[in-house]
Symmetry: D2
Subunit: 318 residues, 4 copies
């Protein structure tokens, strides 16, 4: 099936939102911090920002949620802007093959996390962003960046969520201290985690998140300003990383079923990039056993079928 | 960069072949069996079979080599044809995050290999193909299948290589016995390994291999006969699996640099599928430290840049 | 409490045997082969051979059982006699810290098993004994050795048990093949396992086993002949190895509770050595969750309390 | 060889000290903190406190050194006094089979460290001692305890060493945070580590350390006061734990060569307990590749041979 010519996106996502409303099995909302635990699992929202500047939304697309690990994509973009490919000396680019918070691989690989989308890797990225900054400044830089790429100054960080993460984040503190013991964290652990926890506490709507992802659809170019957020090659490579490592230990399953690069977060959000075509955000807070949004994954599988957007679909030859 | 309209493929691969001839660092030829060890590292060949039935070749494209693990793609196709999606109860679909012959993950995951492209997974696939057969018949079925999809009855299995594998394949015997202890191998280990070692000993030229891969470029359809080798969805999913797991513990690096699904073998061959556009085979026997062809990987990276064929490139919207 | 002067051993073990008869929780009989599965969990036997040539028995002390891993002590003694301390280049002397059949440690330590009392280590020991022999001869050598140290030509190997092990021993076959891939097994795996499985199938009574252990009580000297089975230093070191590694991943617990070197087997037997004082065998087929005889362990704990024989007890200063 | 009747201990240790002075290979002094790194590897000291109240010393037996992990024995004694056997629900009693600071086992065993003598286990013990205390009080309690059992109020904690540990102890911070994520650390990590690092910074001479160990030689009884520091059964069990786990991943080797329970520290000290006979301290700062004192281990091996004090030696039957 070739890429569908001009699918009626609004009709497709309206139908999907309706189907999702009828789903009984929604998984389990993350409950390790109050700010996530009290979210109603009934929510489902989806937004699609297309290459031609249009926006399609359905369901709770205007309701803010905690983007959590989706933020790792934006943080990676900032870090690559700061230190370029030297980043890859401190973080790998391979799928992890273990649960997202595993510490075992770190021992075997001497403190170098496998990729920037597992927690350990994202903590190294936060350490890179922190360089030359006070923690508050680094957090401010991340917030400004996300507001800019989304073109929306209303995006906020939820301090209560950040505080909740800090109070329960002993495993992340273990990871950070462990990497510091190998010399792969350069700043005080509390500061690095402060940046990381605030980054994860970014609160966005599906519309904002879909808009924020547009530069990755457009080979790094910001659609509102024409400014290059990142080079075309780096944009492609971030998409490749999302394809291989974007959904914790369910990345293979997601590639198998959806076939489009994306990044999920424990708040139930998933950002999906169809290169050249669309930037998509979906949100439903219930998680499957791999920690990815149950309905979000299902909705995206149906969207991929309806649109033919899998990168593994036949493409029109040039 | 959009998919290049009608790139001059012959010129591109001629240039790449020339560049490869000048490369000093060719890695190390696999030397664990004589049949592989005596191959001259100087070889380099490449062939591209395009969607419109053309074939472009350069270098040693007509020289036969041992396809080794590239055969896992064909075996997976046969096994899916035999038992369908029930196969996935015995083999996972996630990247392994470990060296290609690691036995640790098997212990943690109770004898279920992570995916069909690591050795353990391919041995389970061989066990599936063996069901209802004598080993010779199963080997015959694999050989017939590959001859048919390549449209070439001259393809052979190198018995000396198969014998060499059997004589040194203690780690594979360990994997097979270990999985049998969990009940995930159903036939006598010697028989299963016999099938597996013969499958790995398939000897093909780049041209034959590029032709054999065409059904994966064409959503499962055989271009010579119009027959569906496999359903479109399964073809896409095999491509997704190759993207995530096709190059051992270098799959992330390959996706990052090349961005096209492919499968490598320790004989120095790589098969690459650009959905809807091209089926590619490259061969150069020297391997990098992840066990993938050094020049093969480099050549494919340059080909991806020259053609814009990365699946993460912008696509022409429909 | 100093070593009890002349405890009334017969009274002690009669009382213990009576207490054991009343125990409800006997654990679970090993059921992976028919030859073990059909043993009645009601059995309990104990024998003590003392330094002064006396023998005390209670319960089913005259009933033969499969000594299984207890045989590893005798095989180690033979192998040290053949190759001396060079054995320690192929097997370690550290506790394993993992389940007794774990393959993970082997991967981390390049095919060198941690000690001769885990399965992998015992398979290397069997490989050493096999050197220069046909498998049947090696098995004969082991049988002759055990008959000699026990002073009893009635000791037999249970061929049905050996056959059962071979038919289900896929994990041992995995271990052996895996070590062979590192070069740490020198003979064909089937032959090595043949020796190993027959050694494990040695069938002995408590009385025979207590007699067989006397050389380890007497610093290597055979009490019947005065012949040195092994040097005093090696006898002490085998005892040290039993103390640290004799009960799989329950060795710490056993040392903590009993404080006497011993070796357990999955058939429910335990051999215990009190240096200079006694060689003890206990048998009860039900196993605890670490794979050691439930009643056997409990009986020995009570015996240690009643006699003061723990090596960690105060000793009379010289 | 039975326990030597009245060996001339002074002559034996004088000879050993002389032999040690001539040893070229002294290993490597721990250099991760300045307080340890600047110690001269030339030092060697040994002291033996015997059951009859005598003290024998040779070499630098009056020179203070950092006892480091030897302190884990004293901390365990205090913790058992506080919470009794309930401690064993939070710490195991099995050898670890991994490097002393490994975090892998903790992941596999859900935050329960294998024994109280690996760092993770000792941090749990410190958490137990901290209960109901301010950190300073807990540190004070440990110091008072050690002064009391040694009968020497001159024993101090080296604050510079404690500070150095805190500044470089990222791996211990990782362990503590990791266990806290499993709920097995109850107090703030900084406080627990504060107690642990000060405990490790106890500074003692060989004479003081040999005197401090006397209660373990005497089944828990304090020789100066007759007071029971700990019950006889617990004293025996601490000795058993030292035998199985006292020397990191070199415990098997030490049991094999020396055959006497002991505990080593990275400062180069080893405390050794011969039940009923002697409490021994040896010190030489150079470490072998397992982290145990090179000369200390060698000296104790020679002492064991000269005295026949191995617990695996023949004992005089009662």
């Amino acid at each position: 099936m070739p890429v569908t010519a001009a699918p009626d996106l609004q009709a497709i996502i309206d139908r999907i939102a309706e189907e999702m409303a009828g789903q009984a099995d929604r998984g389990k909302v993350a409950d390790y911090i109050p700010g996530l635990a009290r979210v109603d699992p009934k929510h489902f929202g989806i937004s699609i920002a297309t290459h031609d500047g249009k926006m399609y939304s359905a369901g709770d697309a205007a309701m803010p949620f905690s983007i959590q690990s989706v933020s790792k994509v934006f943080a990676l973009t900032i870090a690559l802007g700061k230190v370029g490919d030297s980043l890859w000396q401190r973080v790998g680019r391979e799928p992890s093959g273990n649960a997202f918070n595993s510490i075992v691989q770190l021992e075997a690989e001497h403190g170098i996390p496998r990729n920037p989308f597992i927690n350990a890797g994202a903590i190294v990225v936060a350490d890179v962003i922190l360089a030359g900054h006070q923690p508050k400044e680094a957090i401010g830089e991340i917030l400004r960046f996300v507001r800019q790429i989304a073109g929306d100054d209303g995006i906020m960080i939820d301090d209560e969520v950040a505080k909740g993460e800090a109070e329960t984040g002993f495993r992340n503190a273990a990871l950070a201290n462990y990497m510091r013991s190998f010399g792969n964290i350069h700043h005080p652990v509390e500061q690095v985690l402060g940046v990381y926890f605030h980054q994860c506490a970014l609160t966005m709507t599906c519309e904002q998140l879909a808009r924020a992802g547009r530069y990755l659809m457009l080979e790094g170019q910001h659609p509102d300003t024409g400014f290059n957020v990142i080079s075309p090659m780096r944009a492609r490579r971030i998409n490749a990383l999302m394809m291989l490592c974007g959904h914790y230990d369910g990345s293979g399953e997601f590639a198998f079923r959806v076939g489009i690069p994306g990044k999920s977060g424990v708040g139930g959000g998933i950002m999906l990039i169809v290169p050249g075509i669309a930037s998509i955000a979906v949100w439903s807070p219930g998680l499957n056993d791999r920690g990815n949004s149950t309905l979000g994954s299902l909705a995206l599988e149906r969207l991929a079928v309806a649109t033919g957007w899998s990168v593994f679909n036949q493409r029109e030859p040039g």
